[in-house]
Amino acid sequence: MQRMVIQRILIGLVTLWVVSVLVFVMTSLLPGDVAQIVLGQSATPESLAAYRAERGLDQPLIFQYFGWLGNMLTGDLGTSKAGGASISSLISGRLGNTMYLAAVVAIISVPLSVGLGLLAAMYPGTWIDKSLTFGTLALISVPEFFIATFMVLIFAVNLGWLPAIARVAEEDTFWEMARGIAMPLLVLVIVVAAQMIRMTRAGILNVMNAPYIEMAILKGVRRNRIILRHAFFNTIGPIVNVIALNLAYLVSGVVIVETIFAYPGLAKLMIDGVQTRDLPLVQATAMIFCGTYVILIILADVAAILANPRLRNPK
């Protein structure tokens, strides 16, 4: 089992490295010359060359890559090419905001959707199950920007209950913060929960046909206990993976939601970076997104391995 866990981690590290190459190469392929953008149209060829030499932009791409990778590994994310601030300082506040939003969404959506999924599985074919199945299907089919815009229209424009722009600040009280993130939170919970509910329900019902479930029925076990104790433990693997994918989506795929609500998160920062051709910023944010993704998938794999008694307790 340890070998399997270590193997997963090693595969994760290799994936991260491949991702770093891709991120670097692709950002390098973006059109536009940074020196030109920073120094402006009036820059002389000499000052452009000097700027490139100073930043190492005249080196072959492969040297640039290893220099960049080395800096990343030592925690130096570089300086923003637009504005000259250190990227670490740009990111730290934004990362905190995104993580805060993601964490709250995760804390609410994971128990909620696993619970609702179990509930639907406990009473299949009843109105509870039918409304959950229909509701989640409807929500999966609607794109999040539509939900977000729709909610702005209702809660901010028509009812005026919540601010249209999600804004958080250090000095906010808990209530103000809650109000601030309420709408992006709600949109994200709806988007990620729908899939998790459906997977939990499908996973449990799939196991419910197993002979050991029939045996539990014949032992006189209550249906609720059958689902929670007998079926759920055999479904953890696939459920955890869906949870991990959805959580990773929270960190990276929130771009749209952050943009619509102008929420000062990492995704918004990345969009700004792309708009200003700020390559080091784009590279750093891209690496954070990919890294989170890979780490969550590794965690899900490890959790699935740990949940499998065959792997946990070899013969």
């Binding site: 029939e214 032992k219 006189g220 076990v221 433990f233 008694p309």
Partner: protein, 622 residues
Amino acid sequence: MAELFEIDNLQIAFRKEDGTPVQIVKGVSFNVKAGQVVALSTISMATMAYCRPGLHFPGGEVRLHGKDVLAMEPQDQRAIRGNKVAYLAQSAAATFNPAITIGEQVTEAAVLHGTLSQEEANIRAVELYRALELPDPDRLGHRYPHQVSGGQLQRLMAAMALVSKPDLLVLDEPTTALDVTTQIEVLKAFKKVIQEEGSAAIYVTHDLAVVAQVADHIVVLYSGEVQEQGPVEQIINNPKHPYTKRLMAAVKPTPTAGMGDTADQKHDRDVPNIEVKDMTAGYGGIVNGKPAITVLRDINVKIKNSHVVGVIGESGCGKSTLARVMAGLLPAAKGEVFLDGKKLEADLKHRSQEELQKIQFVYQMADTALNPRQLIGDILGRPLEFYRGIKGKERREEVAKLLRLVELPVEFESRFPSELSGGQKQRVNMARALAANPEIMLCDEVTSALDSIVSSNVIKLLKKLRDQTGVSFVFISHDLSTVGSFADEIVVLYAGRVVEQGPVDEVLAPPYHPYTRLLISSVPELRVGWLEDTMQKREMAAGIARGVEITDTGCPFYNRCPIAIDGTCDKEIAPTREPTPEHYISCHRTMEEINEIEQNPQQILHGFEKAAPDGDKAAKPV
């Protein structure tokens, strides 16, 4: 004395898709007294007042202690299940939840019903493990189902059923899927524990030989009606009803020479149809021609055209691996496979389509081998198209021909596998292989999951196919009687080695390899008291108490052999002897010695008075 359990004019039915009800059980009545073991077939579920989805009870009563359980509220039914009435299923491997420890599953019913506290239940469970002669009873409860052997799980299921001291046990074919040697061990444990606990039991099986060992009273059911019932001696010794007689006739005979019919010579050719030479195979990475886990060692098998080679041995001995090597699913680590004298690539990926077409595999579980979402017509039509390019109208005709060949109605082409019975599915499974027009069919335990009458019909069909199409068979089974009735040659595998091989009539007649002897003695006979008699024999004393050990040195059967020679059999590879041409036995004993030992059945030669280490069959390193 009041009846413990009565079934009164019980009916069970299901609804077809168009809504028409179909009766499965058409008014069955019988009673069970306390402490009595009643054997019958097919209506086990009703006694639990539980219906598989899709079934329902249109009429009749099922009374436990005089109360009708079918009319009870669901919560009252639940209070009975696992408490007053307990159920043992056919496959323990599927019945135990893989994610929960054995201890929790065994004690769950008693604790949930409030009959015992968790501590009391744990103590009771350990007592039961002891009574069932399970190894390491004190720590067994902490293990997970995958950590114990199949035979142990089957006995653990008995512990699970007995933990809350039920009044009635329902055993649904609990030994059908087991090896003969394991079956004896489980039967012995069941019988002992039922007697000690004093529970009444309904033992559902199609195997009259097994029934004769465990039951007091027999109820014979056929097409949903009681055909005959009475005390066990009466039914076994003096059956009245024709169906009972058919069941008796389908009991597998003790394997003996001359029981089968061998192939005629009309399909013979100079070269063997398929040949395996000096083959070693296993799983894991291969270093110097040796895999990480060796499953088969130095195997040589030749199969002539239109001949049947039976491969026999206990589960885990490498039977299926042999078939997988022939099919190219598992490339051998060493050795070669020849098809019609031409060397085959070890790996299926490098074989030509024609070679693939000639070797077809028939899997044990038709349920899982047939795609549940495809119509029978498509399942059979696909290989026709793929291998033989038959399309359209011609394809339909060919599918109909195949269905007729396996004796199924042509209308089945528009049905799904789930609409067929187990025997019918197995026929479709074989028709699927035949669709490719093969030369060799690798049949892996194709009759093991079927009841005796259906299985003997399938064997009849296989014989017909052999004679009509000239196809050869590799027939893998743990059932020596079935193999003996069908094969031309037998290969006896033990722990990955061939211990005996040769023409069927030679293998099933003395001199026997000691392991062949054990297998033959383990086939239940249709005789009351057979189990007790057999347990006295030396083969059983030696062979049942101990499990398979895979060794690199010496004879693999050494630790279970009643006539092993200490210092020789555990050290040296056994020489291969040839008592008659093409009949090989690998044993240190000479044929004269073996014949002499056969004359003195009571003599114990290999010190089995010394206790077997825990009787632990879990230590199967396979």
